[in-house]
């Protein structure tokens, strides 16, 4: 967003900025801004840090009145207990499988559909796109009763495909890819491939996928976060015998293991993979969310 300004020589930028006093965009943040932002940052991070602190204590200590403000010595013991008793090992494995499958398929299908909506001409494309966006209004609650009945009929209750199948593609992903390809994929490139006699599938493979790669990566990250954290349908479809991370955390919270320190260790374990993802790809995730908001 500000790249064009960043590439300008320093003195030019300074001059331009002086001409634009008052624009919040160009103003340097004062100390008050940093103080307030720090407060926001503390509020954002403190619960996570405190999760780790609580996970390193004992259940008894957590019920005493000045709550612990620094780490104790029980972290690894509690992590071990959470891992063993709440089935977090299985849960992590299942969540990786579920979120991984959903991510790959969502990115693939969304790119195909997004490409068609952005660059191909076909009857009813405008109407179909509107319909796609409209489906995002429908609450998931409206589908869970029949889905549950069907999955039971199929004998699939408690199996991973139950939670994978309904999430294989999203309206959001389709729209996101369309918005990106509209700008990032030059129509001439497709024309040229057509002139060479390339079939649509070849065009997708050799022209669309390379052009869409950055957006596919961002969509993949957003989808993974979403799938990892999905809650309603997994806790209906799965139980503690074969849980995802969220199902295991739900069992922890509803008294499966009545030890608060172990519960916090479980919450910590269940969040760590995504925190790692944020540490590595935070910039891309932030960019993706902001892109989704302004493109169009």
């Amino acid at each position: 967003m500000t790249t064009s300004e960043l590439t300008l020589p320093r003195n030019v930028r300074a001059k331009r900025r002086r001409g634009r006093t008052g624009a919040g965009k160009q103003l340097h943040a004062g100390p008050v801004t940093y103080v307030v932002l720090t407060v926001f940052a503390l509020v954002s991070l403190a619960p996570l840090v405190w999760t780790a602190i609580a996970a390193s204590r004992t259940d008894r200590r957590l019920a005493e009145t000045p709550p612990p403000l620094w780490f104790g010595g029980n972290l690894f013991k509690n992590l071990q207990t959470a891992w063993d008793q709440a089935g977090l090992g299985t849960a992590m494995f299942n969540s990786v499988v579920v979120a991984g499958t959903i991510t790959v398929s969502t990115v693939l299908f969304s790119t195909l559909a997004g490409f068609a909506f952005a660059k191909l001409r076909f009857r009813f494309s405008g109407l179909l796109l509107l319909l796609t966006v409209g489906t995002m209004m429908i609450p998931p609650q409206l589908a869970v009763v029949p889905l549950y009945l069907w999955m039971s009929d199929l004998g699939w209750s408690n199996q991973l495909q139950t939670v994978v199948l309904p999430s294989l593609v999203t309206a959001f992903g389709t729209f996101f890819m369309r918005q990106y390809l509209l700008q990032a994929l030059p129509t001439e490139l497709i024309e040229a491939a057509r002139v060479d006699g390339a079939s649509s599938l070849r065009i997708v493979w050799h022209v669309v996928f390379p052009a869409a790669r950055p957006a596919m990566a961002v969509l993949g990250l957003l989808t993974f976060v979403f799938a990892w954290n999905d809650f309603l349908w997994p806790i209906i479809a799965l139980n503690q015998q074969n849980p995802t991370v969220q199902v295991a955390l739900n069992s922890l919270g509803t008294g499966y293991v009545p030890d608060q320190a172990v519960i916090m260790a479980g919450a910590l374990l269940g969040t760590l993979p995504l925190l790692f993802a944020f540490l590595l790809f935070g910039k891309q995730i932030v960019g993706g969310i902001m892109q989704g908001a302004i493109k169009g």
Binding site: R20, A29, V195, F226
Partner: protein, 341 residues
Amino acid sequence: MSSPKQALTHSASSADTASGSSPGAARGAHGRLAPAGTGSWRSRLYRWDMKASPYAFVSPFFVLFAAFTLVPLLYTAWYSLHHVQLSGLNHQTWAGLDNYKNLLSSDFFWNALRNTLAIGIISTVPQLLAALGLAHLLNYRLRGSTAWRVVMLTPYATSVAAATLVFTLLYSWDGGMVNWVLHFLGVDPVNWRESDWGSRFAVSSIVIWRWTGYNALIYLAAMQAIPADLYESAAIDGASRWQQFRHVTVPQLRPTILFTVVVSTIGATQLFGEPLLFGGVSGSKGGSEHQYQTLGLYMYDQGWIIGNLGKASAIAWSMFLLLLIVAAVHLLLTRRLRKSS
């Protein structure tokens, strides 16, 4: 949750540009590529490919949507007119409007509706106000601006389940962090689990914590698209920073603000995981007095804890109706706002 947020923004504005992008081009290429004689099956195949492949590309979405949303949605309506018990899934008997009558005469239903609205308001309003302020700050030229943004977004990485487990402990009566801090401020401890408004506020605070940074990024993106000369002329007119924020930033953000209001409202009507886990062992009741049982929670309780799936289906459709009413009100308000301005 995340997904609908972003994309709805520009649906209307961009839908009409979809089709017109490459008509002539495709036709031109096609004409050149149909040489007479040699391999007419080839050119036929080519033409077929041109015609069919767009539909093939969009079909996975529509097939999956039909199979896992549209058809189930209609079946939910069908089941809501039947007696369906979790214990005997194959014995479904016609119930007419019994499930709906049952709901309308149930105190718990109205209680859940009131709670959904109350928690929806006390979680959405402060959340969006805070997000707006935060976006304004993030819009300054900052040292390490990306790092600040990522930090504000970390609560979004925390799942509903993990966040609620942590907040439940923070709000606990014995040794809870929140009451301990209140004690230092000279405030009496609050029973966050049992009191009516205390518990509703606690549940809302989880929503606020998870979504403020996310909404701030949406606002920030919109703020960066505001042309700088609007601020210039405001500054020439002698507007202070606060006046610029009120009279330039906020009006320019109006479409984005309305959009986030809609999306947060959709989220609020579906609120489920936070109150469920905040309630602990008997979570689906939403507290000892059902003081934070939302519609989403009520549906789960009736369907999977009590085992009345017919009634749960009726609740699901009431949630949808509620959403449609809210959407209609929103549309009316928007139109009126637009007229008045």
